[in-house]
């Protein structure tokens, strides 16, 4: 069989004739990530290594990096370690083309173009616009094909007011890439129509959600104090962490688990490090419904420390699962439950004491768990629906045609 027809047959089967070396021109990488791109790169890279391929991941940021076997992470300055870029807390805030952020982006692209030790690469794969200039130069220098994944477009991100220089970097990437991956058919169509991409070279590969394997990393001997929710300022997760710091010295078996993602992630991660409790806190990221149920089933205490919380359904779910629950007084759930501890959202010492009390006294844990379960389940959606109907009836009764 001629070589080219073997390759196309294998391509059809999605099999590779040999292990590939992929140079991925990326941006962020866990544990530091502020958005989906970091997670996407990480998950994709890990699966590629499982298929037997080797990966060099390029990032403008310094570590620490979550290690993956078969992935070499390179960043400007490494391995010389001459002060690589700090992970920015809010790079998405953009700024003007003269800002340090833009200088850093330019610097990253020049570094990518020159990066050494990747001569045996089989393919260059760039994500979005950040590193297209560097990736194009690198592919040309190495004479290797360029693949570009487009996760979103500047038109969509800017709600119709795109930055020209970002558009330009997107456009050159799409033009130069030998193949373009769009994460949806909708996006593919946009690339063809707005960016005039050759339809013949744009493929669709959807994003995926993996089962949260970190769940399995929770030591069953540890007692879990759980937060489930978005990582947003109004959720008061920093209170959860500060309380954890007060509790862990006295409870060596306590593990503080945070399930959820959001814009506060990197700030909370830094806070965890600053509090010196990195080994006692686990950030799980997003969890599925089933995973949340598993987590609740294995938790000793649930905490909802919100500054603002119109209702707090996460706490109600914890109660329904029989997990003793601590909520801030400002949460709506506090109005309907007597079986939860209620704490002022700013009172770190009180949150810590309540957590400690539940870890310390098994009778309390059991009694509050039972009471919470009963309270959460006594009135379900049928009851709520009846209440809404009664509001309809009231409105109809009160209504006077104009």
């Amino acid at each position: 069989m001629p070589r080219s027809s073997l390759l196309s047959a294998l391509t059809a089967l999605r099999l590779s004739p040999r292990p590939l070396h992929i140079v991925m021109v990326g941006w962020e990488w866990p544990p530091h990530h502020t958005g989906g791109l970091g997670v996407h790169s990480f998950e994709l890279a890990r699966e590629l290594t499982r298929l037997g391929h080797r990966l060099t991941f390029l990032t403008p940021f310094t570590g620490p990096f979550t290690p993956v076997d078969g992935v070499t992470i390179r960043f400007p300055g490494a391995p010389e370690r001459d002060a690589p870029a700090e992970f920015p807390t809010a790079y998405w805030a953009g700024g003007t083309p003269d800002s340090p952020f833009w200088n850093a982006t330019d610097g990253y692209n020049s570094w990518v173009a020159q990066v050494a030790g990747v001569a045996d690469a089989d393919v260059i794969h760039v994500h979005d616009w950040f590193g297209t200039e560097g990736a194009i130069a690198l592919a040309r220098r190495l004479r290797r094909p360029l693949v570009m994944t487009v996760h979103s477009t500047e038109y969509d991100r800017s709600l119709g007011h795109p930055w020209d220089h970002i558009l330009r970097r997107e456009q050159i990437g799409i033009d130069a890439a030998d193949r373009v991956i769009a994460v949806s058919r909708h996006l593919r169509l946009q690339l063809v129509e707005r960016y005039h991409a050759d339809p013949g070279k744009v493929r669709v590969v959807y994003n995926a959600v993996r089962p949260n394997e970190r769940l399995a990393e929770i030591d069953p001997k540890r007692r879990v104090v759980l937060y489930v929710g978005r990582l947003a300022a109004m959720k008061g997760v920093d209170t959860f962490l500060r309380a954890a710091a007060r509790v862990v010295p006295q409870f060596p078996d306590a593990l503080f688990v945070i399930a959820g993602e959001g814009s506060e992630y990197s700030r909370l991660l830094h806070l965890t490090a600053a509090l010196g409790i990195g080994d006692r806190v686990m950030f799980l990221g997003k969890v599925s419904e089933e995973e949340r149920e598993l987590l609740l089933a294995g938790s000793s205490v649930f905490v909802l420390p919100s500054v603002v919380e119109p209702f707090g359904i996460a706490a109600l779910e914890a109660m329904a699962a029989g997990v003793p629950t601590i909520v801030s007084k400002t949460s709506g759930i506090a109005e309907i439950s007597s079986g939860v501890f209620q704490v002022d959202f700013w009172d770190v010492e009180e949150f810590a004491s309540r957590i400690a009390e539940l870890l310390e006294y098994p009778t309390l844990r059991r009694a509050m768990g039972e009471q919470g379960r009963w309270e959460a389940l006594r009135e379900g959606w049928p009851e709520r629906a009846r209440e809404v109907v009664s509001v309809y009836l009231e409105a109809m009764e009160a209504y006077r045609p104009p």
Partner: protein, 397 residues
Amino acid sequence: MKIVLYLHMHQPWRLARFRYLDLGSGRPYFDVERNLAIFRGIAERCYVPTLDRLTRAAREDSGFRVSLSITGTFLEQARLAAPEVLDRVRELYRTGQVALVAETYYHSLAFLVPAPELQEEVEMHRAMLRSEFGAAPKVLRMTELAYSDDLARFAEAEKFHGMLAEGWEGILRGQPPTMRYCAAPAPTVRLLLRHYPLSDDVGFRFSSTGWSEYPLTAEKYANWIAATPGELVGLFMDFETFGEHHSARTGILEFLSALPRMVRTHPHLGWATVDEAIAGPPHADLSAPYTMTWADQNRDLGAWLGNDLQRSAFEAAKKVGQAVRQADDPAILTDWRKLLTSDHFYYMYVGGHGADQGVHEYFSSYDSPYDAYANYMNALTDLRRRALERLGVPTLK
């Protein structure tokens, strides 16, 4: 027919919020200021005006009698918060128409704690009545009117001539509550029983506008007493009934003032102190193999030890007691005894028993029974640490 009016005066030392993180901090368990503030409020609304009315009733009617029990924790707080209350008790006692009743100093569940706790607390209380009022009580009541055959034997051993108990069908077995009884296992101990329907008409129902007999006038009430067959009618209730549980607005104080006058309109009615009422032969003897109280629908210890939280806390307190005894430190012993006060366990009651729930919430000093339990256990854990430290036993926390 003699009316035995017996009023119980008690305030507990309520705990401050003692957080888990406060363990080992040396912070006090009890919030003295808050307790005294509460006491001052009740003194103004209840103790002072009610004592004044009782003294006036005694002066105006030489036949009027009242019996009081005053806990040690009440006395401690009164001294600090409102000494005028104690002056008034002494003034009333000097009329000679009053009997004082013995009990545990700390209004405690000492009768469920290994000896010699009960005996020591009763002795402490006796010593207090002697030094404060020059009184030598003949009749014993146990916390929450708890009564059992064992307690009757204890009363006998401690040379008491009588005990107070709930007039509950469970031990009366068809006999009237309005007679003088004696304890089957200790016949020298006379039993005076609470007439709970008539007592609760005032204690619980007086201000219930939904009650078919509302409003209750002194005239109507005196008529009911007069129509009750028997020799003794025990009206046993909290002193705080007058002006606190029922506020002055309900007319409860006027009701109290008017009652002796209305009783005089019935020639066959009179008054007796508990000391006077125990004099005379018993109508029959009564057995109480199980502990009975004056609380709730079941008249058992359920209000204090009915759920897991309460039992767990009380068992822990008993266990810590061993270390406390060994530590032999007066400050540690005193704190432990303050933690045996029954009110702490009452606050851990979890609802669901209909009519009783409202009563429990009214008396609680916490937002929830879980708050009460956690706070109590923290204080107890800290006390245990102090006792063990004193004994030279290393502790983890």
